[in-house]
C-alpha cells in the first residue's frame, strides 16, 4: 500500500494532472475570499465589456489631486487611440491615388502619417476611379482629424443654486491622476458577459459548481456501477442474468439521449445543479458495471475467496474485503474518468439549454450557452467563451493525465 502510494507520487503524469486539478480546486476555494460578493451580480449595464481596468469617470474628474506630466508623445497617442485602423486604410487609399509611393506610407507611425496627410490632402481633387462613397469617407475622416488635433482644455461646469452653469474646474491635456487615489476602480480581467457579470468571478464560481457536479455524478455512477458489477459478477446465475439484461438495455439506449429526455421531463424550474448531477450519474453507470463484473467474475473463483467462504464470512464481507481491494485500482481510475465525463455531460446538456436553471448557479456549460446565445463568437467577444473552453480542456486534460499515470502504476506492463 505504502509502496503503491510512493509509486503513484513518483509518476510524473499523475502528479502533473493532480497538481493542475489541485490548483483549480484551490482557486475556486480561495478566490471568493479575495473577491467577495455574488458571482451572479449584474454589475455592467450592457453586454460583453472588454477585459481591462475600469476607472470611474466621475471620480477621476472630481479628484483634487492632479499631476502635470509633460509627455512628448501624448498628443500622438491621443490621436492614435481615436484613429481606427479602417480610417488609416482610407487615408492610405487616397494617398496612393494621389501618387505617393506605397513604401512612404507607414500606418504604424501615426505622427508621420498625419504630417503626410496634412501636406498632401486637398478636398477639391477628384479621382475618376474613386466612388462617391469612398470620397465621402475620406472627407469624413479628414474632418475627424481636424477635431482631433485641436488642443483645447476641457471645462467642467458646476450647476449653481439658480440653475445656471458656472465654470468649475479646468482639465488640461497634460494633467494626470493616480489610479491608486481614485475611489472607484474595478479591474475586470476577463471583462463581463452578456448579463454584465464579472466573467472571471463567474467563471471561477462555475468551475467549482462544475467540479462538484462531476464529483456527484461520478460518485453516483461509480457507486451504482460498482454495486451492480460486484453483485452480478460474484453471485452469477439468475442475479447476473437480470442485472446484465438491465445493463445491456441501458447500453443500447445512448445515455446522452436518455439524459436529454430525463432533463427535459424534469423541467427548467426544478433543475438545480445537484439534480442535473444526479441525473448524469444515474445514466452513466453502465460501463463501470460491465467492467467491474468482468473483473469480479475472474476473481470469484480464486482460492482466497473460497477460503474466505470456508471461514464463514458473509457476502458483504467477502465483497468488501476479498474482492474490492483487488479491483480498487481499477475502480479509482473509472471514478476519475466518470468525474471527467460528468463535467463534459453537464456542459453538453447546458449547451442544449437543458442544464441547471440559470438564476441559481453558474456552470461552465451554462456560461457557454449564454455566450453562444448572445453570439459572442460573432461579436469578437472572445473573453466570453475562450477562457471557458480552455478551462474545460484543462479539467479534462488533468483528469485524464491522472488516469494515465495511475494506469501505468497499476499495470506496469503498459509503461512506455
Amino acid at each position: 500500500m505504502k509502496n503503491t502510494l510512493r509509486q503513484i507520487t513518483q509518476s510524473p503524469k499523475f502528479m502533473i494532472g493532480f497538481c493542475l486539478i489541485l490548483v483549480l480546486i484551490l482557486t475556486t476555494l480561495i478566490y471568493p475570499l479575495f473577491s467577495p460578493g455574488s458571482p451572479l451580480e449584474m454589475i455592467g449595464l450592457g453586454t460583453f465589456f472588454r477585459p481591462g481596468t475600469y476607472v470611474s469617470v466621475y471620480d477621476s474628474v472630481t479628484t483634487d489631486k492632479r499631476y502635470t506630466i509633460n509627455l512628448t508623445d501624448a498628443a500622438e497617442k491621443r490621436v492614435a487611440s481615436k484613429l481606427a485602423s479602417e480610417d488609416k486604410e482610407v487615408m492610405k487609399t487616397w494617398l496612393l491615388e494621389f501618387g505617393i509611393a506605397e513604401e512612404e506610407i507607414d500606418l504604424e507611425d501615426t505622427e508621420a502619417l498625419l504630417d503626410l496627410w496634412f501636406n498632401t490632402y486637398d478636398e477639391s481633387i477628384r479621382f475618376d476611379n474613386m466612388t462617391t462613397a469612398v470620397r465621402k469617407h475620406v472627407q469624413r475622416t479628414d474632418a475627424k482629424l481636424d477635431g482631433l488635433l485641436e488642443h483645447q482644455d476641457i471645462i467642467v461646469a458646476d450647476s449653481a443654486a439658480d440653475g445656471s452653469l458656472v465654470e468649475g474646474s479646468l482639465i488640461k491635456g497634460n494633467e494626470y491622476i493616480n489610479v491608486a487615489e481614485i475611489a472607484n476602480v474595478r479591474v475586470l480581467p476577463l471583462g463581463t458577459d452578456n448579463f454584465g457579470r464579472d466573467m472571471l468571478k463567474e467563471m471561477i464560481s462555475a468551475l467549482g459548481v462544475s467540479l462538484m457536479i462531476g464529483l456527484i455524478a461520478g460518485a453516483i455512477a461509480t457507486f451504482i456501477g460498482l454495486a451492480l458489477g460486484l453483485l452480478s459478477g460474484y453471485l452469477g446465475g439468475v442475479v447476473d442474468d437480470i442485472i446484465m439484461f438491465v445493463t445491456n438495455l441501458f447500453t443500447v439506449i445512448p445515455s446522452f439521449v436518455l439524459l436529454i429526455l430525463i432533463s427535459f421531463s424534469i423541467g427548467q424550474s426544478d433543475r438545480g445543479a445537484t439534480t442535473v448531477a444526479i441525473v448524469i450519474g444515474l445514466t452513466s453507470w453502465v460501463w463501470t458495471t460491465r467492467s467491474v463484473r468482468a473483473q469480479v467474475t475472474s476473481l470469484r473463483n480464486r482460492d482466497h475467496v473460497n477460503l474466505s467462504k470456508l471461514s464463514g464470512h458473509s457476502l458483504i464481507r467477502i465483497l468488501v474485503t476479498d474482492i474490492l481491494p483487488y479491483i480498487a485500482s481499477y475502480v479509482i481510475m473509472a471514478f476519475i474518468l466518470q468525474i471527467c465525463s460528468g463535467i463534459l455531460a453537464e456542459a453538453q446538456l447546458s449547451m442544449l439549454g437543458l442544464g441547471p436553471k440559470t438564476t441559481s448557479v453558474p456552470t461552465l456549460g451554462l456560461m457557454m450557452f449564454w455566450a453562444m446565445a448572445y453570439t459572442a463568437h460573432l461579436n469578437g467577444a472572445w473573453w466570453a467563451y475562450f477562457p471557458l473552453v480552455i478551462l474545460i480542456a484543462c479539467i479534462s486534460f488533468s483528469l485524464n493525465l491522472m488516469n494515465t499515470g495511475l494506469d501505468q502504476v497499476f499495470n506496469p506492463q503498459l509503461r512506455d
Binding site: H304, N306, L310, S311, P325
Partner: protein, 275 residues
C-alpha cells in the same frame, strides 16, 4: 473401518446446457471413514477439483446427495453453511493465491479462533493459541506477526495453511494438491505435517493429487478418477500393486522411477492405446 463421516450417492455436476454440456463429475459414489486418509487420483481435467468443491459446498451438485456424519447434508442457509464448514475444511493447491494479499497473516489465524467460537477470548489467549499452532508447523509466530503473505515463501505459506487447519480442528480436511506447487524437499515436510495434524486432531483427510506415487506413499485407500467417474477404488496396496483398470496402470507407468530409465516409448504407446 468405523462408520463413514462423509459419503456420496450419485453425485453429478454438469456445466453448461445443450451442445455445450460438459459432465465434469458423473454419478460418483464414495464413502470415507473416520480417521482415514483417502487419495483421489486422476489427471488434469478428470473432475477432481469439481468434486472437491461440491464436497466443500462451494458448488452445488446437479444431482445426487452428500451425507455428512451419517445425515444428509443441508447447507441452504448461511448458518447451516457456517456449521458445516466447522466440520470440513480445505487446503488449496496454490499457496500464493490462497491468501488475501491485503490482509496480514495474523488476521487469517485470528479468524480461525473466532470461527471456533473463541472471539470472546482475551488477546493474550488468542496469541498463545496462534503461537502454538505456528510452533506445530515449525514456524515462529514472533517472526510472522505483522507480515503480509507475499513476504513468505511458498512452503511457509502452505505450512501456515496447516496451522490454520490445526486451529480449526475440522473432522474432514480436503487437501487439493497441496504440494504440487512446492519443491520436493518442502513437500516431504508438508506431507509429514499433514499426517501429524491428522494424528493430533483425529480427522479424515481427503488428499487429491495427480501423483499416484505420492498417493501410494501416504494413503490408506485410493480412488482413481477418470473423465468424472471413479474407475477403481480400494486400499492403497490393492489399487497400486494389482490394478484392474487400464487407466490405473497407465498412471502407474507415468511415475518416473529414479532407479530405472524412463521408458518414453512405453508411456507414449499406452497413451495412444488409450486414445
Amino acid at each position: 473401518m468405523s462408520k463413514s463421516v462423509l459419503s456420496g450417492k450419485g453425485v453429478t455436476k454438469v456445466f453448461g446446457l445443450g451442445d455445450k454440456k460438459t459432465v465434469a463429475v458423473d454419478h460418483v459414489n464414495f464413502k470415507f471413514s473416520k480417521g482415514e486418509l483417502v487419495s483421489i487420483v486422476g489427471e488434469s481435467g478428470s473432475g477432481k477439483t469439481t468434486l472437491v468443491k461440491m464436497i466443500l459446498g462451494l458448488l452445488s451438485p446437479t444431482e445426487g446427495d452428500i451425507y455428512f456424519m451419517g445425515k444428509k447434508r443441508d447447507i441452504r442457509t448461511r448458518k447451516q453453511k457456517r456449521e458445516y464448514w466447522k466440520g470440513i475444511q480445505a487446503i488449496f493447491q496454490d499457496p500464493f493465491s490462497s491468501y488475501n494479499i491485503f490482509h496480514k497473516i495474523d488476521s487469517v489465524l485470528m479468524d480461525c479462533i473466532n470461527m471456533r467460537g473463541g472471539s470472546h477470548l482475551p488477546r493474550d489467549e488468542k496469541i498463545k493459541m496462534i503461537t502454538e499452532a505456528c510452533g506445530f508447523v515449525n514456524l515462529k509466530y514472533a517472526e510472522l506477526t505483522n507480515k503480509y503473505p507475499f513476504e513468505l515463501s511458498g512452503g511457509q505459506m502452505q505450512r501456515l495453511m496447516i496451522a490454520r487447519i490445526f486451529l480449526l480442528k475440522p473432522q474432514i480436511l480436503l487437501a487439493d494438491e497441496p504440494t504440487s506447487m512446492i519443491d520436493a524437499c518442502s513437500r516431504a515436510t508438508i506431507l509429514d505435517m499433514l499426517l501429524q495434524c491428522r494424528n493430533e486432531v483425529g480427522m479424515t483427510i481427503i488428499f487429491v493429487t495427480h501423483d499416484i506415487g505420492l498417493a501410494y506413499y501416504i494413503s490408506d485407500s485410493v480412488y482413481i478418477m477418470e473423465h468424472g467417474k471413479f474407475v477403481e477404488h480400494g486400499t492403497a496396496d490393492q489399487v497400486i500393486l494389482s490394478p484392474t483398470a487400464d487407466y490405473t496402470q497407465r498412471l502407474i507407468n507415468d511415475v518416473p522411477k529414479i532407479h530405472a530409465p524412463w521408458d518414453f516409448a512405453k508411456v507414449a504407446s499406452t497413451v495412444s492405446a488409450q486414445a
